[in-house]
């Protein structure tokens, strides 16, 4: 297909695109947070008197003020206090919310709030958290969906494990015992910050009996559910709207600052704006770091016999999406390989650090580093070309590699061949250079629930309505394109409304690479229903049997000739009135019964060059393969692929959140370095493989995370081949590479 301009491009290049952070209300209050200065402590007295005396300060809200409410949130485990309740669990946790007439009074007021603490021993990493006798972060079991704060105290917890996964089939021990070769790989994936450039912010107001929140959220319907529980409101009485989202990448999945703004509005009766800078955002959420150990058994011919995986995620102080990240990490840890014997044991562990949540590909980048390096190490030990070793084991199309899950809906071996050609794998590398690559398959798409509405207006123009957010991935354009194609109405005549829980249909989430596939299907179904309504309306207006009337390509054709969609609408309602509407629904039935809705394929690689004197790694080439079934908009797809891979390169070479004792020492964009223009390789090759093998519109399936998933392993392998030693952690900073070159431990 051709790639028309993005529908959001002109607003974004002229500065007219409105993001949540740009939305104001007359008379709204500004806010500033008082954050915990301790990693783990009981809260003593919070003295707000000096702050309240400051001119312009209207109120200071603390956890004690929240007793009439359900004071916590969390879509899986509601363990996250809106403001600390008696105890703080990480340095930077919100303790008090200062509300003032302007931003300066708010920040000055926050400086004047005095908090006393009684320190508790802190656990700063999973090893400390899992040690015998370690202090517990959470002494209570919060239950799931529990509405009562008091009752939630009922069951005590005995350890700091937030979530556990045990997964197995076959007999791993037996298979390892008869293996010709066992290869063990242990890797550390760094603690990351997703850095969406629009930091977390929300505007909340109680108006007409409704709680109205405008926020930079990917999943407004999930935020609505959390807010309704906090205030005991019917879901119908919470309106969450997401305008253009200034970057998401999973970091804006689920509830973040919306409850803070909402309790501020509830407490003062006025509109309240909560805005963070990047440092505030870095103290709000991050991505899980991971230690992953993989033991694989092979026969002498390179056939994978068994994989035994153990993985530990550092989930931080609150669960957020941690349990699901662990579950996905587990599902993604044994690779896209035919394997009769698999065992995965995973733990997500509470620590006194910033809570972690989703970040693009979640779970997959963490485990693929170990999983794919393990294949490279095995290939080396077996004396088999690493591409050949993968070809021998890759799951073929239509075969099931994970019991109970959808069979493989991709041709991985063909994708790998495209990648290797792009990388120039067969040509020898110069001294100090290396090539690395990887193949991953993620259970993506999330749970398949989407609804969408499409309307034909009396002038024949089309309005698409969806709860899916535009966060840069291009859903606005891709979804409008699908409606345009289905109805045969020019794209210029299609408008799209997005992400307003009062005005747009239910959408589970905008994540897991699901939008084009699942929301796209919902729109496709709505269009089919709409066409049949147009036929019925035309039959009524113009006469003739339904069997001889066909709506397609922008016209309704019948025995009486062609009429436009607009004429049918006007004829049916009279005058210039009315509209015809239809809803499309996606549920877990039929072709979507089997999960995942699709396997998201990640096939990418890099070529690097290393400066032996400094350890500096230069990227020479990046190659990505998009195995997406069908590219609805090829240019946006390529943009997603390079962007995702670039974030992977950030983790591979630059990015790492660093704790020194209780304190996160680099919560800023100076010391947390993300990829810059000069870091990018001079050669970027984006390959699109279209085989129509997805369940989505025209055989499409999701993309946008895939190319990131294998990048860490690919980068490590490339550096490993250039240096002659395999790395066991990321990022591969110049110092680490320099030490590797000198033969020192990482």
């Amino acid at each position: 297909m051709i790639s028309p301009p993005r529908l959001d491009a002109v607003p974004k290049v002229t500065g007219k695109a409105r993001y949540a952070v740009d939305v104001r209300r007359r008379g709204m209050l500004y806010s500033a947070l008082v954050r915990s200065e301790r990693a783990h402590a009981m809260l003593g007295i919070i003295d707000t008197s000096r702050a309240l005396r400051l001119e312009g300060v209207v109120a200071v809200v603390t956890g004690d003020d929240l007793s009439p409410l359900f004071p916590r949130y969390g879509h899986i485990i509601p363990d996250h206090p809106i403001l600390a309740l008696g105890k703080v669990r990480y340095m930077g946790e919100p303790v008090a919310l200062v509300l003032a007439e302007d931003r300066y009074a708010a920040s000055d007021g926050a400086e004047l709030v005095e908090v006393s603490y009684q320190d508790l021993p802190a656990v700063m990493d999973p090893e400390q958290a899992l040690a015998e006798g370690a202090p517990l972060l959470h002494a209570q079991d919060y239950g799931v969906g529990d509405r009562s704060f008091e009752e939630a105290h009922s069951e005590p917890r005995s350890d700091n494990v937030c979530h556990r996964v045990e997964l197995s089939w076959g007999n791993v021990d037996q298979a390892l015992a008869r293996a010709d070769l066992i290869v063990e790989t242990c890797t550390d994936y760094p603690m990351l910050y997703g850095y969406a450039m629009e930091p977390y912010n929300a505007l909340a107001d109680f108006e007409d009996g409704y709680l109205k929140v405008i926020t930079t959220a990917q999943h407004p319907f999930m935020v609505r559910d959390d807010l309704a529980r906090v205030f005991s409101l019917p879901l119908s009485h919470v309106r969450v709207t997401s305008p253009y989202v200034g970057g998401g990448y999973g970091t804006k999945s689920y509830t973040k600052v919306e409850p803070l703004a909402a309790v501020g509005a509830w407490y003062t009766g006025r509109a309240v704006k909560v805005e963070f800078d990047a440092t505030g955002a870095m103290l709000t959420t991050r991505a899980d770091s991971a230690r992953v150990t993989i033991r694989s058994g092979f026969d002498s011919g390179g056939r994978l016999l068994a994989r035994d995986v153990s993985l530990t995620l550092d989930t931080g102080a609150y669960a957020d999406n941690g349990p699901l990240v662990l579950s996905k990490a587990s599902n993604r840890s044994f690779g896209p390989y035919r394997n009769q014997n698999v065992r995965v044991r995973g733990r997500a562990v509470y620590t006194n650090t910033v809570p972690s949540s989703s970040y693009r590909g979640f779970g997959a980048p963490q485990v693929s580093l170990a999983s794919e390096l393990n294949m490279d190490q095995a290939a080396q030990q077996l004396g088999i070309d690493p591409a050949q070793l993968r070809r021998r084991n890759l799951i073929p199309p239509g075969e099931r590699h994970y019991p109970g899950k959808r069979p493989m809906d991709a041709d991985l071996a063909a994708d790998l061949d495209l990648l290797l050609e792009g990388l120039g794998w067969e040509a020898p590398c110069q001294e100090g250079q290396g090539i690395g690559f990887g193949v991953t398959a993620s259970d993506a798409g999330a749970y398949p629930v989407s609804t969408a509405a499409v309307k034909i207006l009396p002038d024949g123009s089309v309005l698409v309505s969806t709860g899916s957010s535009e966060m840069g991935q291009g859903s606005r354009t891709a979804l409008a394109l699908i409606a345009s194609r289905e109805l045969g109405v020019p794209l210029e005549q299609v408008a799209i409304a997005q992400s307003d829980t009062h005005a747009t249909p239910y959408e589970r989430t905008s994540g897991a690479s699901r939008t084009t596939t699942l929301t796209g299907l919902a729109i496709q179904r709505a269009c089919a229903e709409l066409l049949s309504r147009l036929e019925m309306a035309a039959a009524e207006v113009k006469g003739g049997p339904l069997t001889e009337i066909k709506a397609a390509e922008g016209m309704v054709v019948g025995p009486w000739g062609d009429v436009s969609f607009g004429e049918v609408v006007r004829g049916w309602f009279g005058g210039n009135l009315g509209e015809l509407a239809a809803t499309g629904v996606v549920r877990r039935v039929g072709e979507l019964q089997e999960l995942p809705p699709f396997w998201e394929i990640g096939v990418s690689g890099v070529k690097v060059s290393i400066d032996p004197d400094t350890g500096q790694v230069s990227l020479l080439r990046l190659v990505t393969v998009a195995d997406v079934g069908h590219a609805i908009h090829p240019e946006m797809l390529k943009g997603q692929d390079v962007g995702a891979a670039t974030q992977g390169l950030g983790a591979a070479f630059f990015e790492e959140l660093v704790y020194d004792g209780p304190q996160l020492v680099n919560p800023n964009l100076v010391e947390y370095r993300v990829p810059r223009a000069k870091d990018m390789p001079p050669e970027i090759v984006t390959i699109v493989a279209e085989r129509g093998d997805g369940v989505g519109p025209y055989g499409a399936k999701g993309g946008g995370e895939g190319t990131l998933n294998p990048i860490g392993g690919a980068a490590a392998a490339a550096v490993g081949r250039a240096v002659g030693r395999w790395p066991d952690r990321l990022p591969l900073t110049p110092e680490r590479v320099w030490r590797m070159l000198r033969g020192e431990e990482n």
């Binding site: 790639s3 301009p5 993005r6 959001d8 491009a9 002109v10 607003p11 974004k12 290049v13 002229t14 500065g15 007219k16 695109a17 409105r18 993001y19 952070v21 740009d22 001119e55 312009g56 007439e101 302007d102 931003r103 300066y104 009074a105 000055d108 850095y195 969406a196 450039m197 629009e198 930091p199 253009y244 989202v245 200034g246 970057g247 998401g248 800078d277 990047a278 440092t279 966060m471 840069g472 991935q473 291009g474 240019e635 943009g639 997603q640 390079v642 962007g643 891979a645 670039t646 974030q647 800023n668 964009l669 100076v670 993300v674 990829p675 810059r676 223009a677 000069k678 990018m680 970027i684």
Partner: protein, 162 residues
């Protein structure tokens, strides 16, 4: 803050002189956003690293997150809102559209203003010069390559203009 020191200033914003009374601690970005509704000016790192708040002051790029509004008195400030002529996009804007040089768009105004400064000084830059010049603007979505392509394309379009 209320009742704190304020100064009277008269900057020229996108070719229009404005008279404002601003707190001495107000940043230029806050003034442009909070007082003048110029929301194309974005804020992110708020420490001169990310480039999303880049505007031109007397033709020079500055990080408006850390430039005081008071210091803009009597100076010419250009923001993304002043670039297009009516419905007619500036060649840089059109090139960003054509090259899909944006995704979420949050960094886009900063990149375009920085690129404008480059092309004002150097109408025919090499690819390396563009990359060097834009190294102080962060983008998390695109991987930069389409942005560099757009700037080079815009340079060509501007040179071809009469």
């Amino acid at each position: 803050m209320i009742g704190a020191d304020v100064v009277e200033i008269a900057p020229v914003i996108n070719d229009r002189e404005v008279f404002l009374s601003v707190p001495v601690r107000m940043t230029l970005a806050e003034m442009l956003r909070d007082r003048l509704d110029l929301f194309g000016v974005k804020l992110s790192c708020e420490m001169q690293v990310c480039g999303v708040c880049t505007v031109l002051v007397d033709g020079q790029p500055v990080s408006s997150c850390t430039y005081l509004a008071a210091d803009a008195d009597g100076r010419r400030v250009s923001t993304i809102e002043g670039l297009a002529e009516g419905e007619q996009l500036h060649p840089l804007q059109q090139a960003f559209v054509d090259h899909f040089a944006l995704q979420c768009g949050f960094c886009t105004p900063g990149f375009i203003m920085m690129a404008k400064h480059l092309l004002d000084r150097s109408p025919d830059p090499t690819r390396d010069e563009v990359v060097e010049y834009l190294d102080g603007n962060l983008c998390r979505c695109t991987g930069y390559a389409p942005i560099v392509d757009a700037v080079l394309d815009a340079a060509g379009r501007l040179r071809a203009e009469p």
